[in-house]
C-alpha cells in the first residue's frame, strides 16, 4: 500500500484487508463482513460482540437496507478511523538500491573530484544510512483552531531536515537491509525531533501570520475591558486570576506533537577511490554518497 490521498471507500477496504477480512458485496453498494469479537471490541468498546457488519457508503442505501453508513463524519467511519490511527505508531522501511542507477552515480562521483585531478574506483560497496520520518501534528490556536500534519524527514547522519517530501513510490515496507551494512546514526532522536520542529517553525514563519495578529488584538481588547471592570476595586487576586484565565484562552498558540514515526533505510554508495593529484601523486580516499540528500562525504 502506498501513501497519498485515499477516499473513504479505499480506506475502509484497505482496513478490512489488513484485518484479513473479506467483505461480500451483497447488492449494489452494500457489503457485509463478519467481524470477530476482538475487532468489534476495538471498534465499539468492551461490550461489543462478534457480528455481521453490513455497511454502505450511500445515505439512501443505508436507510433502505438498514446498513451502517460510512461517510464523512459518520459514527462507523469515526470508529474505524480511531482503530486505524492507533496503529502504525512506529514502522520501518527502506529505499531499494536498485532504484538508483549505480554507474551514473559512480560517474557523477568521479566527475566531482575536480578538473585537475583524476580518480578511479579501487572498490565499492553498498551501505545504508538511517533517516527518521516523523509526522508532526501542528495546531495553530488563535480565534479558530487550524490543524495540519507535517511529514518531516530527518537525516540521522547529519541531523539535516529534508526540504522535500520523499515520493511514496520509492519507499518499500519492512527491511531486507543487512545489519552490518547499516551506518551508525550521528544524530540523536531527540535532536532530530528538535530539528524537525524548528524546521516547521521556520516554515510557518514564512506563512500567513494574520491569525496571530487577530488573536492578539482580541486579547488586548478583552484585557482592557477586564482592567476597566476591576479598576478601583481591591480584589487584585481575583483580577489576576481572571487575567490568567483570559490569557490562557486567547493567547495565540502553536502546539506541536509527533504522531507517528518510521526509520527509513536509504542506500549509501561507498567508493574507495584512488585520487591522482596534478603532480601524479596518488592518494586513497573513502567517499560516501547519499543519493537522497545528494551529499558526498569524503574521508
Amino acid at each position: 500500500m502506498k501513501g497519498g490521498i485515499v477516499t473513504i471507500t479505499q480506506l475502509v477496504f484497505n482496513f478490512l484487508s489488513l484485518c484479513k477480512l473479506e467483505p461480500v458485496h451483497i447488492r449494489q453498494g452494500v457489503w457485509q463482513v463478519q467481524v470477530d469479537e476482538a475487532l468489534m471490541k476495538e471498534l465499539d468498546g468492551w461490550r461489543a460482540q462478534a457480528r455481521l457488519l453490513q455497511f454502505t457508503f450511500e445515505q439512501k442505501l443505508a436507510e433502505s437496507y438498514g446498513a451502517e453508513l460510512i461517510t464523512s463524519g459518520s459514527y462507523r467511519l469515526n470508529t474505524i478511523l480511531q482503530v486505524i490511527r492507533k496503529q502504525g505508531v512506529l514502522s520501518h522501511a527502506h529505499i531499494p538500491h536498485e532504484i538508483f542507477h549505480e554507474p551514473s552515480i559512480r560517474k557523477k562521483v568521479l566527475q566531482n573530484i575536480g578538473f585537475d585531478r583524476r580518480a578511479y574506483v579501487l572498490n565499492s560497496a553498498l551501505h545504508y544510512g538511517q533517516y527518521l520520518l516523523l509526522d508532526i501534528n501542528v495546531t495553530q490556536l488563535g480565534l479558530d483552531k487550524v490543524e495540519s500534519i507535517h511529514h518531516t524527514t530527518i537525516n540521522l547522519s547529519t541531523g539535516e531536515v529534508l526540504n522535500f517530501t520523499l515520493p511514496p513510490h520509492l519507499i518499500q515496507g519492512g527491511t531486507t537491509v543487512p545489519k552490518e551494512s547499516v551506518l551508525k546514526r550521528k544524530c540523536s532522536f531527540k535532536q532530530a525531533y528538535a530539528n524537525a520542529t524548528a524546521s516547521i517553525c521556520s516554515e510557518l514563519n514564512r506563512g500567513d501570520q494574520d491569525w496571530i495578529k487577530q488573536a492578539n488584538h482580541k486579547l488586548a481588547s478583552e484585557k482592557k475591558r477586564l482592567a476597566e471592570f476591576f479598576e478601583g476595586t481591591t480584589t487584585l487576586s481575583q483580577y489576576e486570576a481572571k487575567l490568567k484565565e483570559l490569557e490562557h484562552r486567547l493567547t495565540p498558540k502553536i502546539q506541536m506533537d509527533a504522531i507517528r514515526g518510521a526509520i527509513l533505510y536509504v542506500p549509501i554508495f561507498y567508493y574507495r577511490l584512488v585520487v591522482v593529484e596534478p603532480g601524479g601523486k596518488e592518494r586513497i580516499q573513502n567517499l560516501y554518497y547519499d543519493p537522497i540528500s545528494n551529499r558526498e562525504e569524503l574521508e
Binding site: N14, G73, Y75, R76, K145
Partner: protein
C-alpha cells in the same frame, strides 16, 4: 543510544514572528514513538501508510466549517428520533464561532437549552478543544443530564459521588450545592477546566452568595450558563450572571447603573444594552417560531360523588375549616394536606388523619376518630370508577399522576384488579430503579402511576396521555407534570384528562388553573419567576387554603381566586415588559 527526556529542551526560534504567541512542543507523542523503538515494536509499512491516510482524513473532517457533531450524531439521532431544530444548531455555531465558548443560553422554557449545550460540548470534544469538563446542575437534574448526554450525544459522563471524582473523571456531572461545599470546593477551584456548564444558572443571580463566589473562582476556558430567566426581579441579576463569564462586558457596576438602569426592572438605552448582551447571550423565543410545539388538549371529566362520599367530604372540610380558623391560620400545612387528600382518595385522607391525631387537641380527637372510622368504612371510590372507565376507552400509553403515595397504591390496586398492567413511580425509588421503570414503561407496560416527585427530572415524550387523578394547587407543579410529556421531541398532541369532583375544592382549583390562567393549554413559561414576583410571603398552596378558610360562600371564594389569577397574569405581563424587551 539512550534518550532521556528530563533535559529535553527544544531550541525553537520565535524571533521571526512579528506578534507574540506561545509555542508548546509536546514530547508525549515522540516519547511513544521512542518507546516503541526501544522495544523494537515495528508495525508494518501498510498499517503505517493506512494510519497516515487516516490522519489526513480525520484532519480534513476537522477542518470542516460545519459542526462536526451534526455529522457524527446523524445516525444516532435517526435511530433515537432526535431532530435538532435550526435554532439549536444556529446557537451552537454562534457560541463556538462568535462567542469563543463563553455564553449564556437563555432560551425560553422548552426550547432545548440542554441540546444546545450538548452540541457545543460534543463539538469541542470532537475538535479536541475540551477534555476536562464540569457540568453543575441542581441535584434533581443529574441523571437527566447523564441520560441526555449519553443517549443523544454518545458522551459518557460520570456523576460525582466522591471527592476523588473531581480529579479523575474527565467529564463530570455534579450538583452545584455539593460542589460549593467543603471539601469539594477547594479541589474544584484548583483544577483548570476546559468547559464549565451551569444549568439553572439563575441560581447564581446574587453575587453575595456562596454559590456565586464559588463559580466565579472556577478556572475555565469555555463557560456555558443555562437559564430561562436571566432576569427575575432586578437588572443587577443579569449583570452578575454576565460578570461570571465575561467580567467587564457591561463595564463596572457603577457605569452599568448609570448607562443602563432606569429602575430595578426597566433598562435605559435598551438598544445599546442589547448590543452588548448579544455578544454573550442567546435567547430564542417560542413566539419567534423557533419551534412548533404540539397541542395540549384538555379534557375535564367532572364526576359526582355518591351521597355518602359527599357527606364525608363535607365533614372533613368542616373539620379542616374549624380547626384552621381556631389555629388562626398558623401551622396549617397538615390541614392543607388533609383538604387536598380528601379530593384524591379516602385512603390517603385516613392515613394523614391518623398521623394528625397523635398531636391533636382533646376537643378534636373525638371528631377525628369518628371521621377515621367512616373513612375506613367507605368502600366506594367514584373517582377510581371514573378512572377505570376512562382507561377502558383509551389506547396507548398513559401516565396517571397523583400527589399521594396512598392514592397511588390504591389506584394500582384497582387497576391491577381490573386486569391492567401498571408500573409505579415515586420519589423513594433509587435513580437506577427509576430508569429501569421508565425503560419498562417505554417498552412494555401501558400504565404508569406516578407521584410528582417520582416524575421529576425524567422525560416521557413517548407517551402523550396524562391523567391528573388529583390536581396540584400550585401551577408550577402542574406544569412540571405536563412538562414530562409535553416537551421537545413530543410528536403528537398531548391529551390531559383532569378528574374533577363536583362541588369540592377541586372545582375551584380547576377554575383557577384552567379558565383563569389557562394553565393547561399554554406553557406559561417562567412560572417560578412569576410566583416569586407575586411576593406572597407564603406558599401558593397556603394562599389558596387561606382563601378557603376565610370564606365559606362559593361566590366569595370565586372572587378571591379571580383576584389571585389576575395577579399571576399581571406578574407575567410585568416581567415580560420589564426585561424581555432587552432580548
Amino acid at each position: 543510544m539512550q534518550e532521556t527526556f528530563t533535559d529535553f529542551v527544544i531550541n525553537t526560534k520565535k524571533d521571526g514572528y512579528s506578534c507574540p504567541f506561545s509555542l508548546e512542543i509536546s514530547i508525549q507523542g515522540f516519547q511513544a514513538i521512542v518507546t516503541e523503538l526501544r522495544k523494537k515494536r515495528f508495525d508494518t509499512w501498510d498499517w503505517f501508510s493506512l494510519a497516515r491516510c487516516g490522519d489526513q482524513l480525520a484532519l480534513n473532517q476537522q477542518q470542516s466549517p460545519e459542526l462536526l457533531a451534526l455529522e457524527y450524531l446523524k445516525e444516532r439521532w435517526q435511530q433515537s428520533g432526535v431532530v435538532p431544530y435550526p435554532h439549536q444548531i444556529m446557537t451552537a455555531k454562534q457560541v463556538i464561532g462568535e462567542m469563543q465558548g463563553q455564553a449564556i443560553l437563555a432560551d425560553e422554557v422548552g426550547l432545548g437549552k440542554t441540546i444546545e449545550a450538548g452540541l457545543v460540548l460534543k463539538e469541542y470534544l470532537l475538535r479536541g478543544l475540551a477534555k476536562k469538563i464540569l457540568i453543575l446542575t441542581p441535584a434533581s437534574l443529574l441523571w437527566q443530564w447523564y441520560h441526555e448526554l449519553s443517549e443523544k450525544f454518545g458522551v459518557v459522563a460520570g456523576i460525582q459521588r466522591t471527592q476523588w471524582d473531581w480529579e479523575y473523571t474527565d467529564i463530570l456531572i455534579a450538583s452545584l450545592d455539593t460542589a460549593k461545599r467543603e471539601p469539594h470546593a477547594p479541589i474544584i477551584t484548583s483544577i483548570p477546566y476546559d468547559l464549565l456548564i451551569i444549568d439553572e444558572a439563575h441560581k447564581l443571580k446574587n453575587n453575595n452568595t456562596q454559590a456565586y463566589r464559588f463559580v466565579n473562582t472556577i478556572q475555565k476556558k469555555y463557560c456555558l450558563m443555562l437559564t430561562a430567566t436571566p432576569i427575575q426581579n432586578d437588572l443587577k441579576e443579569l449583570y452578575n450572571l454576565i460578570g461570571l463569564i465575561k467580567p467587564g462586558q457591561l463595564g463596572s457596576y457603577r457605569s452599568f447603573k448609570e448607562r443602563f438602569v432606569e429602575d430595578k426592572r426597566t433598562p435605559k438605552n435598551p438598544q445599546e444594552l442589547r448590543k452588548l448582551l448579544d455578544q454573550v447571550m442567546i435567547r430564542n423565543r417560542r413566539d419567534e417560531g423557533a419551534v412548533q410545539f404540539t397541542k395540549r388538549l384538555v379534557h375535564p371529566i367532572i364526576l359526582s360523588l355518591t351521597p355518602r362520599e359527599q357527606e364525608i367530604y363535607e365533614r372533613v372540610t368542616h373539620f379542616v375549616q374549624t380547626t384552621g380558623r381556631r389555629a388562626g391560620y398558623t401551622n396549617i400545612l397538615p390541614l392543607i394536606t388533609l383538604q387536598r387528600e380528601v379530593c384524591s382518595s379516602f385512603l390517603a385522607t385516613a392515613f394523614t388523619l391518623e398521623k394528625m391525631m397523635v398531636n391533636m387537641a382533646q376537643e378534636d380527637l373525638a371528631i377525628a376518630a369518628g371521621l377515621l372510622k367512616d373513612l375506613a368504612e367507605v368502600k366506594q371510590n367514584s373517582k377510581c370508577d371514573a378512572l377505570e372507565k376512562l382507561i377502558g376507552e383509551l389506547e396507548d400509553k398513559i401516565i396517571i399522576f397523583t400527589e399521594y403515595k396512598a392514592s397511588q397504591e390504591y389506584i394500582r390496586y384497582r387497576l391491577e384488579k381490573a386486569g391492567y398492567r401498571t408500573l409505579a413511580f415515586d420519589g423513594t425509588l433509587s435513580r437506577g430503579k427509576k430508569q429501569w421503570i421508565r425503560y419498562m414503561f417505554q417498552k412494555d407496560a401501558q400504565i404508569l402511576v406516578s407521584t410528582e416527585s417520582g416524575g421529576e427530572g425524567l422525560n416521557f415524550q413517548f407517551c402523550n396521555q396524562v391523567i391528573n387523578f388529583d390536581l396540584p394547587w400550585n401551577p408550577m407543579r402542574l406544569e412540571q407534570r405536563i412538562g414530562r410529556v409535553h416537551r421537545l421531541g413530543q410528536e403528537r398532541d398531548v391529551h390531559i384528562y383532569n378528574l374533577i369532583t363536583k362541588d369540592t375544592i377541586e372545582e375551584h382549583i380547576m377554575y383557577l388553573l384552567h379558565q383563569k390562567i389557562n394553565m393547561f393549554e399554554s406553557i406559561i413559561g417562567e412560572l417560578d419567576a412569576i410566583l416569586l414576583h407575586l411576593k406572597l410571603g407564603k406558599s401558593f398552596e397556603s394562599e389558596i387554603m387561606e382563601i378557603f378558610l376565610a370564606h365559606q360562600k362559593q361566590g366569595e371564594i370565586r372572587e378571591k381566586l379571580d383576584l389571585l389569577g389576575e395577579q399571576i397574569l399581571h406578574g407575567q405581563a410585568q416581567i415580560k415588559a420589564s426585561s424581555w424587551e432587552l432580548y
